[in-house]
């Protein structure tokens, strides 16, 4: 078992984290460095395609097991339950409006696929192996949190006097968007393709999805650093202290919950580390978009800054090593 300090150091000095730091630095000195939106979007698709495909191939090799279904169920449950905990904690500690508490909570129940991807690299570097189906777990955890959060937010709202044709039409739109949002679809789709084509399929495209993967991740994290830094410069000063604190302890709480479940299910250390990371990570693409549609009154300057500017860097730099250590400890 590697010591936590060692993992943390390896992690902090990896090219990925350093490129993220470079992005943060560039944004703080107001450099004009930027990655075009079209590229960032495509890199996100690429990362999901690659990680999904690889996971599917691994599952095809390993075969499905009872554990698989247990983890899928546990993942969905964690995603649905965490917003309740988050909402409760925010209600107890902060003065945020109900709708803002619900929106923030949604982000912490859902997941960040880039945090997950970074964790797979750190887990591998730490010499651990993980199960391919974790990618399916990631896909399953994207959306339940959104539904919980919407229920939390609506419980506080009076029913509208006049029925809103726009809202009705939207609600259908929203459900479809939640079920088939591009992350879920790409992850699941590539996962299934990986499962179907197996090793021969992987051999065909591994020079595209495996070999350059870490390098693309570096470029993507550079962009994340730029964006997180600009978000922080613009908004973090204005976040109330209890909210910032929430962005730091909530991932740890989510991680602990997942660690307990991982222990109960009997996951391997590597898989447990990734499952913990999923629970600990906070969404910054899919959930914000859903919130703008479903809860436009909630302020993105709160939930986006918290998720992207506080929790993501925390997880990337310190959280992941801690989750690996935690996983090694509980398994």
């Amino acid at each position: 078992m590697t010591s936590m300090i060692e993992i943390a150091q390896q992690n902090l000095l990896s090219p990925m984290v350093l490129f993220f730091a470079l992005g943060l630095f560039a944004s703080f000195v107001k450099s004009d460095l930027s990655i075009p939106e079209a590229i960032a979007k495509t890199m996100a698709v690429y990362l999901m395609m690659a990680i999904g495909f690889k996971g599917g191939v691994e599952l095809a090799n390993a075969g499905a097991s009872a554990t698989l279904f247990a983890v899928l169920a546990a993942g969905a449950a964690v995603s649905a339950v965490l917003p309740l905990i988050g909402f409760g904690l925010l209600s107890a500690t902060s003065k945020l409006a109900r709708v803002d508490r619900a929106a923030v909570a949604a982000h912490y129940g859902s997941i960040s696929i880039v945090t997950f991807v970074a964790a797979t690299q750190a887990v591998t570097t730490a010499g651990l192996a993980y199960d391919g189906y974790l990618i399916a777990v990631a896909a399953v955890m994207e959306s339940p949190a959104i539904i919980t959060a919407l229920m939390l937010a609506r419980r506080g709202q009076p029913a509208p006097a006049t029925p809103d044709p726009d809202a009705a039409q939207t609600s259908g739109h929203l459900w479809r968007e939640i079920a088939f949002n591009s992350s879920v679809l790409m992850l699941t789709g590539a996962f299934v393709i990986g499962m179907v084509t197996g090793k021969p399929g992987l051999e065909m495209i591994s020079p595209f999805i495996i070999d350059p993967f870490r390098g693309v991740l570096c470029l993507f994290l550079l962009d994340m650093g730029l964006i997180a830094g600009r978000g922080l410069r613009g908004g973090a000063g204005k976040l109330p202290l209890p909210v910032i604190a929430f962005g730091l302890y909530m991932p740890v709480l989510g991680g602990l919950l997942a660690a307990g479940l991982a222990m109960a299910i009997g996951l391997s250390a590597g898989s447990a580390a990734l499952f913990i990371t999923l629970a600990a990570s906070a969404s910054y693409i899919a959930v914000p978009a859903a919130m703008r549609l479903a809860l436009p009154e909630a302020k993105p300057s709160i939930y986006l800054t918290l998720s992207l500017g506080v929790t993501f860097p925390f997880n990337l730099a310190l959280g992941i090593p801690f989750y690996i250590w935690l996983a090694e400890t509980v398994t």
């Binding site: 600009r230 703008r292 549609l293």
Partner: protein, 105 residues
Amino acid sequence: MSITTHPKKRIEIMIEAPALTRVTAALDRAGATGYTVLPALAGRGNGGNWQRDDAFGDSGRIVCVVCISDAQRVPAILETLKPLVERHIGIVSVADVQVIRAELF
């Protein structure tokens, strides 16, 4: 002018990107004959400033919907848009224009 032109209205809606489909659905409901969506790069309002390359996904971005319409249809369009731009980040402006092919609007 040797070429006849016809008075119409040009409605311009700056709307946050995630709500775009609601705006276009509203235009459809209100009977607009068409519209064109222009991208935006950056902006500032009361809620601070944003830049296209500084965001993930759609949230925080603005797009600009241009709809040329007959004056008669404008009240219905504005009526339909009003609740939308009150809930979402959005700005609506209407200008007088002259078009050369009246039958299109």
